[in-house]
Amino acid sequence: MRLIKNTIEHNGSGAVTLCPEEPEDMWHAYNLIRPGDLLRASAIRRVTTVQDTGSTSSARVHLNLLIKVKSLDFDPQSSQLHVSGQITNETAHTKIGQFHTLDLELNRNFTLEKDVGADGEGVGWDSVAVEQLKDAVDEGGKRRAEAVAVVMQEGLAHICFIGQFQTILKQKVEMSVPRKRQGGGDHDKGMGKFFRVTLETLLRQMDFNTSLTSGANNEAVRPVLLASPGFVASGFHKYIQSEAATTTPGLKRLLPSIVVVHSASGYLNSLSEVLQSPAVKTLLADTKYARETKLMDDFLYQLRKETNKATYGPREVESAVDQGAVGRGGGVLIMSNRLFRSQDVAERKRWVSLVDRVRDVEGGEVRVLSSDHESGKRLEGLGGIAALLTFPVVEEDLDSEDDSADAD
């Protein structure tokens, strides 16, 4: 995402103009735009005019609309963001107060304005939002590193794209492969079929052109991680090699970028193991998700080792912050960005203030994890918030915990 113009005031109100450049930017926009914001973007609207005679004519007109956001709809599969709200600027074709749904498009500027409001009823550009904006704006365009992971086991393959901020499950291949049986060759046949379908699906999802003559030959191929328990991934690798050697020579371009790694199962929750494997680490260097994954592992390790020096859950973390345990010298607040996506202004303010307090007052570290990554999913399981503490905090009495249970 490119930042075109930034007019954020000191008090947190103001507007930015952004230009999304790649699909993942839509995810950023999804995290930045909140209900109540003003969004200006170009739109195509079908306008129906009624003549005096009663005859109607409709035309599609290009408009530049400013809407007050009511709701967002994000489709991670196709990275499309639909923002609906009421029109607040008057144009020749629309009236104020009419509803419109803006579809944000790649390489088309949009302007996002957040207002604090006279009495501070709005959220404005709070610290978290500014942080997110920084994350979203990729100045050098060097954050393109992306990998395709195929997590598989016998008869099951998950093809997913690992981005900076998102892991998108593109497609799941599921096939019943006969087990080995006495004197039955069905298993090998079934595996062959499974590999064929998986490869076809993978190439389709990657938009990989297998023809040798196509102009796309010079295009860099993203790393492809094949992960599985046992020998399925290596078998698949072998299959691709044999295909490249025999039927589809175009696949040879793909071969150098394939990495075979181990995973515990063919399900997505074993992706963390994939990302932790040395082969992948060297390949993808210091990427955000690698850091996030490591952070989560550290936290879980701490939780196991010294239970009282780590905590999770909204109430527990808040009370730990109150006791000053998340401060200088190793206190880390880990939050899922889902919490900031809350529709409720008060809710968001609660988390933003917690973040500000830890960072500015306590001096601890704050890490906001993408909920669309594997590590973020693990965090979600813990309530979306966790903390590494500087000193052991004795657990609260059972009653309050029960309350929180009820609150959940």
Partner: protein, 803 residues
Amino acid sequence: MSRHRVKNVGYDDDDFEDDDGYDSPDPEEQEFLQQCTAAVLGQLRAGQPSVTATTEEVQEALWHYYNDIEKTVNYLRGKKEKELKKQSTPAVQKPKVQAGLPVPGFPAPLPAEAHFSAADFFRDCPWLNVPAHRKTEILVEPLYPRLGLLGGAPESGGKMSKLAALAAARKKKEGEKAAAAVPEGPSTSQPARTEGSTIKPSGTPLSLSERLAASKLSKASETNGGLRRLSKPGASASLPARQQPAPETSKPPPPSLPEPTKQEEPEKEPEQQQPTSNIRASPSTFASVILGNATGPTMAEPSHLNSNNVDLLQIYGQDHAEPFDFAAPSPDDVVMNAQSTAKGFKSKPAASKAAKGQADLAGGMKDLSVEEKVTVKSKNLDVLAEYNKSTRKKSANFVVIGHVDAGKSTLMGRLLADQGAIDQRTLDKYRKEAEKIGKGSFALAWVMDQGSEERARGVTIDIATNKFETETTAFTIVDAPGHRDFVPNMIAGASQADFAVLVVDSSVGKFESGLKGQTKEHALLVRSMGVQKIIVAVNKMDTVQWNTERFQEIEQQISAFLTTAGFQPKNISFVPCSGVLGDNITRRSADPKSSWYTGRTLLEELETSEPYTHALDKPLRMTIGDVFRGGVQNPISISGRLDAGSLQMGDQILTMPSGETALIRSVEVDGEPSDWAVAGQNVVLNLANIDPIHLRSGDVVCRASAPIKTVTSFTAKVLAFEHLMPMQVDVHRGRLHVPGRISKLVASLDKTSGLALKKRPKIVAPGTVARVVVEIDQAVPLEAPTRIVLRAGGTTVAAGLLE
């Protein structure tokens, strides 16, 4: 083509309806008829002049009187009496009848007279169901002068009547054949009318008409003549004596309908005998209605009047008795009817069967779909009774577990080879091939490791089942993979086992690494899956020179560990052995160094297993272990072990979570075809009427009457092997393997009492029992109490019982 079809269907339908109406396939009707028949026969016998009648006669009469027993009895009695009288004094009868009988006129010919044509008369009349009053009207007609008609008959009409007559003659012949059994002469008198109309009398009238129309239609007349010539012999052959139905003239004014019925009775033999009589009535009527004039003239002949006799009277009576409308069965039907009645009741089921077949066909058309439905007839066995009846050897399933490369597959290969379950030839082949790829020591393992990948890599990947029998027991081996990546497969295998054989590698270093690895994990898993008895095979003793101390050390460590895992000491036994050499497997070791061991061999140890009981009377549950194509005959087959209940061939089953039903085409128990199977048996079900996409390994087979519920979240009491916190886990139950997450730690529990020690713990330490809530992304068939295993990151984190 489609038109043809349509037409055919139409005819079929008609026939079908007719059958319905007259063949009375309805069992109720039949029954009623039986009752009536019995009643009538009874009354006849009991009545004043006791008479007997055949069942056929009675039923025929009943049919005509719409099952009115009284009337039937009257009629039959009259008839029989008459018969008797006739037999005694046939001569007397004639005049009596002639005089006393106001025989209703034969209706059809009359309207054709000079006054009006048949068409005129029936102008406003329905084609069928001629109302009764019409009939009487018809009866009136004979009073009109007939003679005038003589010349009135148009040529063409005469011709047609001949054709009709010819047809009638043929039918009559047939009828006579059918009636041959019945010795009643007079019955044949009836057709004589029609015949007579064309034949005998026609001699004159036709020639007369010929003469009249000679100028126009000489050719036609020729044909007539031909026809006549043709028909004549037939007619004369059948009944030359029968003369014309002239008697109309002598008839008194029309009798009311009821009257004739009464009067008929005495002289009504012909009607009774056979429905063939109907034939004669109907066609002639039909013909005469259309071409009334044809018969008209003949009737008018005085000579025929004179020749009037009993037979003729009978004819009339008969005609009247036959309801003169087309509601009556068509001639063909009557013939069929007659034939079927002649055959008696035996033929009835056939008719009804045919009808049924037609219904089936119609239903079949409705049900017609692209998919071919297979139906397998269930034998409706009482499976449990069959099971109790059958005298089988006690059977036992055991799973072979242990760390990778402990020699599990080789040990089992040796066991099978020594037991003769594998022939030497195959074994030699394996040995040769294994040596070819430089893995000679794996030859025995190839007995179990059938997969090409497994052989190439020398490691078991998936479970393999094999069976062998001793004198007392039929064993099923489930060889589990030892590699940690294939623990899910091992779980699937362990879920089928009654007891376990833990294979440990006694060689230095290997045993130690195994104890940390899958030796421990597998033992914990089989224990948490409910296995009580475990046999520890201390393998590869030859590599440590049958060192007693080594054996004792291993025995000590393993038994200490197994006891803490929850196995009772009496259920643990140790056997030092060597899989490659076969020592202490089925035979004692010949190695002098191993002489210190005097205990049981592995096989003897296996045979000490007690029979296991299974939940036979619970609702059917079977976890699908594999879905495969069993061959051309059985395109969809599933295998697995019946967890509970029983099933048999032809049963309808429900697979969950797809919720699809399937039909069991056939059942194989331990590779042998069987009609049924009960819990505890390893079965292969060949299915029909289901798409394989609805079947996945891990699905559960149950019955629609007692389906297993699918859940997306469940509470389980688990023993933690690792730290538990809200985390992502894989849920395993047999072949079922789904991703899920622990969403809540409800409480940590006291191991013995099961009371909650701490509510909502932050983390559950290894070795503690906790109650957790697990959420699953997709709905899976799980029901309490079932044993589940939770794994994460390639290790088993917990195992326990669904609540």
